[in-house]
């Protein structure tokens, strides 16, 4: 299974990368008492004054120690009920910790839910001001930043509309636009990104990159490994209230999937040393129009490309690409010799570009491209191979939960 180490023994991993500490968590525990019989009225209390209260204890967070340094983007991942949100609420000062100590340097703003305090009967203008004040701005600051909110939310002309007449998409945009106006140095974000359409999500991601560039410290709680790996400098995996592992998001991502699905056979050797004098110089993706892209819409043709320089005369080399998910699942392997095609001869120093076009039936996520060239024949003798050289984000509306979103024909027949 996973490398399960108590947090104390993991002292090197718990220390931040560099810079002064922004959030320091020392042996924090939080326990909820779940009474067997909930005495919720004075009457019951008066009738049974000496009834002893029995309760179950739910150890939501157990002995978590963590240092997050300034400007760090820190992810906390775990399954439902792993205690990640409770920990976030403890940091936010919404729950009181039972044991341990939390210290923060700087102003802190939690993003646990978007649009807290939104009132459907007030117009958008009032709601923005109210929400901004609740998130920590003063009335004057809120008024000053109002125009930026409107601009970001792209809701000019809807400001005097009551919120109850807003669509849910407009509501989310307004709430997010307001939320990012807070100028706290430490932001706590709890899966608020799981809202909005694809275009708006992209905008949110960009905004998070901006905050990161500005040097804000961000603590991000999610069970979406994709966004954690994409944003975070470090991450922590929690399970049953305990920290399992703290470290590189990719490693954490793998540990998380192992926790969910058991051990995965990860076949990537990570071999990057030169295998021969031939080199792969670049890898990229192209869309149906032949333009280089870093994201591609579902159903659009996707071309996997790479450029290589032959280091010696090559005769019918085998070009191949492997497309993997971020967790190392191999989705597509395409080889030039699949259909017996011969690639021809190349002189030493010649540059060659290989293109593989596939229909894009991938589920929205990030995919990594591993290009390779091999000697003629079986194609097993690699000349050059670069692991995960380029990546593409597939976006689209259809996400069934499977890896592929293939066209499906369905019929039901009564017998």
């Amino acid at each position: 299974m996973t490398t399960t180490a108590p947090s104390r023994a993991q002292a090197p991993g718990t220390s931040p990368r560099s810079g002064p500490t922004a959030v320091s968590i020392e042996h924090v525990s939080k326990t909820f008492r779940l009474p067997h019989r909930h005495v919720s009225t004075l009457k019951e209390r008066a009738l049974h004054p000496f009834r002893t209260m029995t309760y179950d204890e739910l150890n939501a967070v157990q002995d978590v120690s963590l240092e997050i340094s300034e400007g760090e983007f820190f992810g906390i991942v775990g399954r439902n009920g792993s205690g990640k949100s409770t920990l976030l609420k403890c940091i936010a000062g919404i729950y009181r910790v039972d044991q341990g100590r939390i210290a923060i340097a700087g102003r802190l703003s939690p993003f646990i839910e978007l649009g807290v305090g939104f009132n459907p009967d007030l117009n958008a203008r009032d709601n923005v001001i109210i929400n901004a004040i609740m998130l920590g701005l003063s009335r004057r600051q809120a008024a000053e930043r109002f125009d930026q909110v409107v601009e970001f939310a792209e809701l000019e002309g809807f400001m005097d509309l009551r919120l109850k007449n807003y669509s849910s998409g407009m509501l989310v945009r307004l709430a997010f636009a307001t939320a990012i106006q807070v100028d706290a140095e430490i932001l706590l974000i709890d899966e608020v990104l799981a809202v909005g359409d694809a275009a708006f999500q992209q905008k949110c991601f960009e905004e998070f990159f901006r905050l990161k560039r500005e040097g804000r410290t961000i603590v991000f709680v999610s069970h979406d490994m994709f966004s954690v790996e994409r944003f975070c400098d470090r991450a922590m995996l929690m399970d049953h209230g305990k920290p399992i592992e703290i470290g590189d998001p990719r490693r954490i991502g793998r540990a998380y999937h192992e926790l969910n699905f058991g051990q995965l056979a990860h076949e990537a050797p990570g071999e990057q040393t030169p295998l021969s004098s031939s080199k792969i110089t670049e890898a990229w993706f192209e869309n149906g129009e032949g333009e280089r892209v870093t994201s591609n819409a579902q159903q659009e043709p996707l071309t996997l490309c790479f450029e290589a320089v032959a280091g010696e005369p090559l005769h019918d080399p085998v070009f191949a690409v492997t497309l993997r998910t971020e967790n190392g699942h191999t989705i597509i392997v395409a080889r030039s010799d699949q259909h017996g095609a011969l690639t021809g001869s190349f002189a030493a120093g010649e540059t060659v570009v290989a293109r593989f076009t596939v229909p894009n039936w991938l589920t929205p996520s990030r995919y990594m491209l591993t290009p390779s060239i091999a000697k003629e024949g079986t194609g097993d003798e690699a000349l050059a191979l670069v692991e995960d050289m380029a990546s593409v984000v597939v976006h689209g509306t259809s996400s069934s939960g499977g890896i592929l979103e293939v066209p499906v024909q369905f019929e039901v027949e009564r017998l």
Partner: protein, 297 residues
């Protein structure tokens, strides 16, 4: 906060000025922010009430006014409690109703306030005490509007403005302290015991009849209970004392003051003690409960 177990560790990685956050509290991080949030909540409620419909304010005013009309009819035409012996009975009745309405609205509105604002307490950092206090503040805005009508009636009755009207300010302040204290106590209790609401409804009904609103302390002066004149018992009740003093200050200089009614300045310490005692109790209890409110909602 002192109950927290502070775990001493090796020196922190970087000696930056950190401030510990131990969890939610009644007051939050600063007085200014506390006031701003309280005011904003109250203002929002006020706005919703009065800008939601064109007749918002009129409707709010209608309730105490209609109530006043009915009571006036019953007690001057049918039962004749007041009019013949009490000067300015109608004006007193209106003023007393409006002051008591403030107390009742502020306290009963506070009861469920914390539970109703659940998303604030669980999703953002929010000083807990701002919630019940904002209810009290919102009702104070209402009181301010309603007092305009009281002044119209008083002037309409031919009473000249005089300096003693200023006494209304400390009297209302006392009433606000009383209502806010009871409000915070009830709101924190309601988180634990959900039958506080009907209990308080009954209790405030008792308080209504137990306060000199329909009658004055003079009306009750002739009766006694356990040898203590009723007028004295009525002014032990802080609301009774406030209303009695307000009557003298606003309407009838010849009416007994709270001091007269209770029988001497030292005894005034009883209603005052109740007000400030409840205030201390409310603050203590609320402060004690505040860290755990969000878990119990």
């Amino acid at each position: 906060m002192s109950s927290l177990e502070q775990v001493e560790l090796a020196p922190p990685v970087a000696p930056v000025p950190t401030h510990g956050i131990y969890g939610p509290s009644a007051f939050g991080v600063g007085a200014r922010r506390f006031w701003q949030l309280t005011f904003m909540l109250a203002r929002t409620e006020f706005k919703l009430r009065f800008f939601g419909s064109a007749l918002g304010y009129l409707w709010t005013l209608m309730r105490p006014l209609l109530f006043f009309g009915v009571l006036l009819l019953v007690f001057t035409k049918l039962v004749k409690v007041g009019s013949n012996q009490t000067p300015y009975y109608a004006e007193y009745l209106l003023m007393a109703i409006i002051l008591f309405t403030y107390f009742q609205e502020a306290t009963s509105g506070s009861v469920q306030s914390l539970v109703a604002r659940e998303n604030l307490l669980r999703k953002v950092r929010f000083p807990r005490l701002a919630v019940p206090l904002s209810v009290s503040l919102f009702c104070l805005f209402n009181l301010g509007m309603n007092l305009i009508v009281v002044f119209v009636f008083i002037l309409g009755a031919g009473i000249e403005p005089r300096l003693s009207w200023l006494e209304l300010i400390p009297l209302v302040a006392l009433l606000v302290i009383l209502a806010s204290s009871v409000g915070m106590l009830l709101s924190a209790l309601y988180v634990r015991y959900r039958d506080i609401q009907p209990i308080w409804e009954v209790f405030s009904q008792i308080l209504w009849y137990g306060s000199p609103i329909l009658y004055t302390v003079q009306t009750a002066a002739k009766k006694s209970f356990l040898g203590i004149p009723f007028s004295r018992l009525l002014t032990i009740n802080p609301i009774g004392a406030i209303l009695t003093q307000a009557r003298k200050a606003m309407l009838d200089p010849s009416a007994p003051s709270a001091t007269n009614a209770i029988g001497g300045v030292p005894r005034l310490l009883i209603p005052l003690g109740i007000v400030f005692g409840l205030c201390a109790l409310g603050l203590w209890f609320f402060n004690r409960e505040a860290p755990h409110i969000s878990e119990r909602l």
